[in-house]
Symmetry: C3
């Protein structure tokens, strides 16, 4: 099922190939983050593979459900699944050596975030969503997998508490949308947008930047 | 994308406007409930805005996904998003003064529940669902946002434990469906249904009414 | 709304009836598991019914959302809902006597898993998904309800931690897909696949078989 590509986009096949490569690369690095969380939470072999798949695909599946691109690419194309399973199996058997590469993992995760945010925004535009929502769906594509991954081990998603993670994704996806509105060339815009997201994320990690938390004098639990 | 309105409904444009106004008003009050929970759980600025959006839109998005109205209104129409963000920003900066208005918040939340339950049932009927399921989807529209909001901070959704919340929503959405089956005028029926839901909810809060809990002598954790 | 049945399948009406019966039987046993978890977690009457519905229907709804079969059968057909509510009410009022039938419940749950895995794979094939994804969607249909049920009471889904549960479902759904590829007769294949899943699950329970857990020397909580 081909997406109804927007006639404004010059080279359709190029864009489609770009989307696929970005998606598969992002799938791999996010699957690693899911598998590592699974191992740390003592999930069994199936649980680790399930978290690999969810972390790598829940963002894209959410995007595809919301824009009506059914069945979602992650379900319809076996390559996504194969990539996620490969990452999950690798982590299951070589968790200790890989987990020592702490810095490398943060870099890869930032790369995955950048790739997904850009690919998500491109796809939402291709399906004709309005610009603001296309930028937000790019962000959701980037952070959705991490949110579902955290929910499955029953913890509040890290992205809601700590940050410049979602903001980095939103910056990248917004640049894609701005370029689309101003008719910039697709490939250079995508590269610049991914670099922007990647850069913000890495600088935020290195300098410990984060968003403010609101003052709340009351800590009671009663809610509406 | 216009919904395929049911020819049985007399004035289509009127119904569409009614749905929009109900939806936006409900979006605002539920976004406030999400943002307040976010602040209480020490989420950062992004987390508070994310909870605003989820609390205000997850019910409607779930309904739209289930009836096949893609992309969902909350994604396709920037006004929902703008209203939710406005509520989130307001709570982030003025949490303390607003949280003191405890009674006002309960009243607003009951109003949001009533608005969403009615709007959800109307939309499900407009998309041709059978009456029982339209009533249930109205209830889901009303309570879905609160459920997702609670899941994101890793707690059992309040609506499953405490009550006459879901029941109030179900009463309102059922009245909409009954009116539809008996060909009552749309606007007066919607007002009566919203008033019914709102009334049940407020009386339940004031009198501490709740549903019974089953007797269970065993408290072990083993499950299927 | 009729599914676009695959012309390779010989007797369409037979397959459709088979899917319905499998689905309703699986709905009943899973609704019981959801209701029991609800009672154990002290949910109120509504919460117990909600968990009955979620446990029995979330797997099938997820499958239907992903393959684009909207509205999902569990929403569009009142019989699923009625069966789930019947099971929920029964458990609410007779929890103690029923919960003593521990062995019977494990057997019923294994039967539900087998029925859903087979029905899920059949439906995914009927909608034209590729074989590998049809087998996985069969597994998701079987385990999805239990995952959502566990998330709603804020615990890590049991299926991710303990097992040969998901694997049993995957074995059954894979056999359905293999039979489809080799043009085996539909009904005998479905029976054999359900028996395979049921058998693996029961033997795993009896012998305490489970999947391995990865070695992880680090137990820290920092994640990507």
């Amino acid at each position: 099922m081909q997406p109804p590509l927007n006639p404004l986009v010059l080279d359709e096949r190029l864009l489609r190939d770009l989307l696929l490569v970005l998606d598969l690369a992002g799938t791999f690095v996010f699957a690693i983050s899911g598998a590592m969380l699974g191992v740390r939470n003592r999930l069994d072999f199936f649980g680790v593979l399930a978290l690999s798949f969810v972390a790598s695909s829940a963002g894209g599946i959410t995007r595809d459900l919301l824009i009506g691109a059914l069945p979602p690419a992650a379900i319809n194309d076996w390559r996504y699944f194969a990539v996620a399973m490969g990452a999950g199996v690798a982590i299951f058997f070589w968790y200790s050596p890989i987990s020592r590469l702490r810095k490398a993992i943060l870099v890869f995760d930032a790369a995955g975030l950048a790739l997904f945010a850009v690919a998500g925004a491109e796809k939402a535009l291709a399906f004709g969503l309005n610009p603001m929502m296309a930028a937000l769906l790019g962000m959701v594509t980037g952070i959705g997998g991490g949110i579902m991954r955290d929910l499955l081990v029953a913890r509040t998603p890290a992205v809601l508490q700590r940050d410049l993670y979602a903001i980095a994704a939103l910056a990248g996806s917004s640049l894609v949308v701005i370029g689309h509105l101003l008719d910039w060339a697709v490939i250079p815009t995508a590269i610049a947008a991914a670099a922007l997201c990647f850069g913000i994320r890495l600088i935020a990690v290195r300098r410990g930047w984060s968003l403010p938390v609101a003052a709340s004098s009351e800590q009671d639990e009663s809610s509406s």
